[in-house]
Amino acid sequence: MYKILEKQVLSDVTKLMVVEVPQVARKAQAGQFVIVRIGEHSERIPLTIADFDRQAGTITLIFQEVGKSTMEMGTLEPGDGFATVAGPLGHPTEIEKYGTVVCVGGGVGIAPIYPIARALKEAGNRVISIIGARTRDLLFWEERMRAVSDELIVCTDDGSYGRKALVTEPLKELLEARGKEIARVWAIGPAIMMKFVSLTTQPYKVPTVVSLNTIMIDGTGMCGGCRVLLDEGARFVCVDGPEFDAHKVDWNNLLARQQFYRTEEALAVERWQHECQLDKEANRG
């Protein structure tokens, strides 16, 4: 069992956990992910490593409760643990001194963009970060992001905090005003956000890197469930990625593939909520 040492509730549906897994912490680099599994009956799900402490032998995971597995994860407390934490998987982010770079984090994607922004800053880049969420409650790590960025733009879709805008709006303005300066853009967030970031940067021909979070089973190059279509053919996110050139990704195919198990996911959530309800009633009675 991989023990949870710390838990923070970042919002109603966003949780942070510090997990003891020295063999992963020892190797983890920005851009990599782990496969986690709660227990015997659970799925294997990929989560990007939001932070790591080699000395303490811990990694930090941040997840949003969007399905049954993440909802169940949200109920775990310090002292509980995961049955599986395997990794670090995937290629690390290619950190170099590029010049001026933009890091875009949307929703729970703020978590994985943080170590990338930090590493880019440490490598001597001028880092402009844009973080955004649907609403104020879903934002987190603003101060952390500010600490590793030369400029930080915060926005919410509903205007409840920061600027009322989608992340693509300030991004477009930056490209318009300083397009020639910007050497590279990183974007991590919901697939639909990454698609629109890609469409935004494409006319300016600014190299854009996205970190894809597809459905995976083993996460180690065996099942092929994570395959994504690029201009040059199918690639496996787990071993070829998770970062790809955004301008080469077939976004519509990616978005369609994420929907394949929607009925089953809904059924699982319904069952989970029903069980939780029964538990509550039992506790009361």
């Binding site: 063999q23 294997r44 998987l89 089973i217 099942c223 198990y261």
Partner: protein
């Protein structure tokens, strides 16, 4: 019965193994073949002629002492049978179920020249199952040698290698990337062909007897690299098995409903998707499934699809649908084990021979709605000696399918090669290793199984693990130096 003459022995018919009824089993994931009873095993053992020069042994990749274990069975000495079995094979309950005996030991049996060979595989399974319950003859290890060995991958190659080295007194540590040891025995081969309790039973028994350590959730190449293992261990064996699944280079392979047999079987077997929603990982098949390929993996995928369809139909009351095996060659070239093909046919899998997909169609939501195929004919023999299939111009036709499962083999996992510069690979991406010894181009590293041969059988991987273990032992004991 010891008084039977040779002639009388040859007159005993080959004993059939009881099996679940095809109609009933199509709706469940329980084991199909039920195993010999003691009486059937005795009858079958009585058929063995105890040849002075037994050819059956030559046909076995791990050289099981076949006449000896059958002789003990004949004499009612179960422990003797187990002892004889374990000289060469530490995992008989597994081999008895998944080896292609008809092309190995049984193909060489003298009885097969005029009639039917001794059912060696079924007897092996009988002995293995007995021992899993009785634990009468635990594997014993020689005194510790002080040498430490790392084995990467806990599938058939790695397990066999681990057992043999453990018996020699070496300290064995195994690394598994998934959360359960067993490799393809767990994620690939379905419950109805190889119950997971049997796999777990065999592994637990061997590991306990020999003090083998298993680290799950260790992805070699990421969590640890080969260089790091070499710094810590005296020798390393790579048995990482199959890797990235192959897809055809045709349009439409990324529609929803197109998946690799690896993904499909992993969802079903490792993750127990057939028990969704009790287990969290979903698996779904449509009403018309096409499995592309005709190897053992294709049969497993087809038979799992059929069961999922029927389980679904039991819930909804709708008709179950159909499952096709689409294969570009003919029945004669089918590479799967005979029993699997037979079972698949019995259960109602439809075989479309001399047929090859050329395109997969999708609907506006990105789901598969059909597959265009072309008819094939057999032409000249190719490099493999099989007549190569050639498309018949103008013979294209459409199949209305909503699920397409590719079972076309795999190419080795690229992660093994991370931080392993000394390891040479073939143009197919497999590890270069000596066939007899398993030695790779990197000193102190051996390899065997699918990572060397590409997709093959469980028992050939076991054979490779065994040969490598023998060479590793010689090397570790200083009997064979140099590289």
């Amino acid at each position: 019965m010891a008084s039977l003459t040779q002639k009388e022995r040859t007159r005993i018919p080959r004993q059939e193994m009881p099996a679940q009824d095809p109609v009933v089993r199509g709706g469940n994931f329980n084991e199909v073949a039920l195993g010999f009873t003691a009486e059937l095993a005795q009858q079958e053992a009585d058929r063995c002629l105890q040849c002075a020069r037994p050819h059956c042994v030559e046909g076995c990749p791990v050289g099981v002492l076949i006449p000896q274990f059958i002789r003990a069975l004949r004499e009612g000495d179960m422990e003797g049978a187990v002892r004889a079995m374990k000289v060469k094979n530490g995992l008989p309950a597994i081999c008895g179920r998944v080896c292609p005996q008809e092309v190995q030991c049984e193909a060489r049996c003298v009885l097969g020249r005029k009639g039917e060979p001794v059912a060696i595989g079924r007897l092996e399974r009988f002995v293995g199952d007995y021992e899993l319950a009785a634990r009468s003859c635990p594997l014993e290890a020689h005194p510790l040698t002080g040498k430490r060995v790392a084995i990467v991958g806990t599938g058939p190659a790695g397990l066999t290698c681990a057992v043999d080295l453990g018996r020699e007194g070496h300290r064995v540590t195994m690394f598994e990337s998934l959360h359960t040891p067993g490799g393809v025995l767990i994620y690939g081969i379905p419950e109805f062909r190889l119950p997971k309790s049997v796999v777990r039973g065999e592994i637990d028994y061997a590991v306990e007897c020999l003090g083998i350590e298993i680290h799950t959730d260790y992805v070699v190449g990421r969590t640890l690299t080969l260089s790091e293992l070499l710094a810590e261990y005296d020798a390393v064996f790579l048995g990482t098995g199959a890797g990235l699944p192959s897809f055809m280079r045709i349009p439409g392979i990324n529609y929803n409903g197109v998946l690799s047999a690896n993904e499909f079987l992993t969802r079903v077997n490792l993750m127990k998707g057939y028990l969704f929603p009790e287990y969290d990982t979903p698996v779904k098949v449509g009403r018309a499934v096409a499995v592309i390929g005709a190897g053992n993996v294709a049969m497993d995928a087809a038979r799992c699809s059929l069961r999922l369809q029927r389980l679904q139909a039991q819930k909804t009351g709708e008709p179950a649908g159909e499952v096709h095996i689409v294969y570009r060659r003919s029945h004669e070239e089918v590479p799967a084990r005979a029993e699997e093909v037979h079972h698949a046919e019995e259960e109602g899998v439809i075989f479309d021979f001399l047929t090859n997909p050329v395109e997969i169609y999708g609907d506006e939501r990105g789901n598969v709605r059909g597959m265009r195929c072309i008819r094939m004919q057999l032409g000249e023999p190719d490099a493999s000696g099989r007549r190569s299939p050639v498309p018949i111009p103008g013979s294209e036709f459409d199949m209305a399918v909503d699920t397409v499962i590719f079972a076309l083999g795999t190419s080795p996992n690229p992660l093994v090669f991370v931080d392993a510069e000394g390891l040479q690979r073939t143009k197919h991406g497999t590890v270069v290793a000596d066939e007899q010894t398993g030695r790779t181009t990197q000193p102190r590293v051996w390899a065997g199984g699918d990572v060397v041969t590409g997709a093959a059988t469980v028992v050939s991987a076991m054979g490779a693990g065994k040969r490598a273990a023998a060479d590793m032992h010689r090397f570790l004991m200083g009997e064979s130096t140099g590289w």
